[in-house]
């Protein structure tokens, strides 16, 4: 019996894996973590099936309590590993963790699409794409971004990591609660409402950093020019 989940994984991951061999190092990290996100989704789907059976098939309880915990925990593991072994630089962690979350959502949405062919329409697509896709990305990105802070503060590391995971899990659970209720459009809009202010703040931070870097570079250039003028007048 062919598992549709594994078929989808191979169809999407195979070309991405081949792409990895051709692209530059920085882009390789992004695409690599998209593939890792898909691997996590595959693994989580097996675990969630077992847990659903253990809760006696209580779909609502599983989706609002169990799956947020398993999914966020397992998505966080590669990010924490990367932070400890490779780099805990903030922008890098933000990129890889968001990529992982998006990769997870990519496979999840594809699987749900294949299993719900009679229910799909453009509204469904927008809801899954901008709702669920963004939610998974944001939850993992929050953990990744936060790890860059707590990683360097030894006393805060354990409580900080627990706090970050709690925030991601509870946010995910709130989303799942809303989309299964009569307020499902509030649930779908929730990740977008969260994403926009975060995007604005991050863009402003990056603009400030670019401006500061430009000022430093101009100051260094001016000093170098002055030195050249002094040297020439001495000659």
């Amino acid at each position: 019996m062919v598992s549709i989940m594994y078929v989808l994984f191979i169809c999407i991951a195979a070309p991405l894996l081949l792409l990895l061999l051709l692209i530059d190092k920085k882009s390789r990290k992004t695409v690599g973590f998209v593939i890792i996100g898909m691997c996590v989704c595959l693994f989580v789907s097996e675990i969630n099936s077992i847990l659903l059976a253990m809760t006696g098939g209580d779909h609502y309880y599983t989706t609002t309590t169990i799956t947020p915990i398993t999914e966020e925990l397992l998505k966080a593991l590669p990010v924490i590993y990367f932070a400890f072994v490779f780099s805990s630089e903030r922008q890098t962690l933000l990129t890889v963790s968001m990529s992982l979350g998006i990769g997870f959502a990519l496979l999840e949405n594809s699987y749900i699409l294949v299993n719900s062919l009679d229910q799909i329409d453009y509204i469904w697509a927008l809801a899954r794409g901008f709702g669920s896709g963004l939610m998974h990305g944001l939850c993992t990105a929050a953990v990744g971004y936060g790890i860059s802070f707590v990683r360097v503060r030894r006393k805060l590391f354990y409580t900080g990591t627990f706090g970050l995971l709690s925030v991601a899990i509870i946010y995910h659970a709130i989303y799942n609660t809303l989309v299964q209720s009569s307020y499902k459009y509030v649930g779908v809009l929730l990740p977008i409402i969260t994403y926009i202010p975060i995007l604005i703040v991050l863009q402003k931070q990056q603009a400030r950093l670019r401006k500061a870097a430009l000022e430093v570079s101009s100051a260094v250039t001016e000093e170098a020019e002055e030195d050249t003028v002094v040297e020439k007048s001495t000659e």
Partner: protein, 221 residues
Amino acid sequence: MDILSFLPDIILLVGTTAGFVYCAASFFRAGKALFLQIVACACGCVALGQLFVVMQLITRGQMPHGFHVGILGTLGSYFFLFSGNYGQLDGLGDPKTKELRKYRLLSLLPTILVALAYVGVFLQDITVQQKVIYAVLFLLFAETSYFSCKHLILPDIEDGILKSIRPYNAAVLVLTLFNVLAVYATVLDQEIFRTIALFVCAAIYAGLGYIANRGVEKWYQ
């Protein structure tokens, strides 16, 4: 949907959110003490957990039974409060000398109270899952109440930090005891006590950041 029956939970959500908004706006800036950022995280965790509880009440009309992710909010909050007292203040305020042993022993009183409260909860007709969840929660309550009480009564020998932060420690101690009351009232299905406990907790969470900030500023003067 009877909003009035959810009012205590909504008030707690409003209080914790107000506390978090104040903390987030004031403490995540350059030069602000890590201790204050920890207090902000504590308020944020409990606010998000309470948001989940309120969402469940609005969409399903009832509190989730047994374990639910809203409990992670309270757990996370108390991890941060404990970490703030133990990790940040204890090293500065307690010189660990024999002369101060009597204060450390006296500080065990709220811890014993919390432990006795857990025994009372354990003996009620609740599921094993609930007993385990409350055990973890009460353990955090006990640890936090010990350090809050200790930093409240310990004479300020070192450099003035304990004296300036006493109102904060008093607030955390009262918050912990009312959180214990809230759990007890939930288990015994005593709505009035639960309402009182949640209202007090909401008020304390709303002002916790401000109280902590006043204490830290006083210490720096």
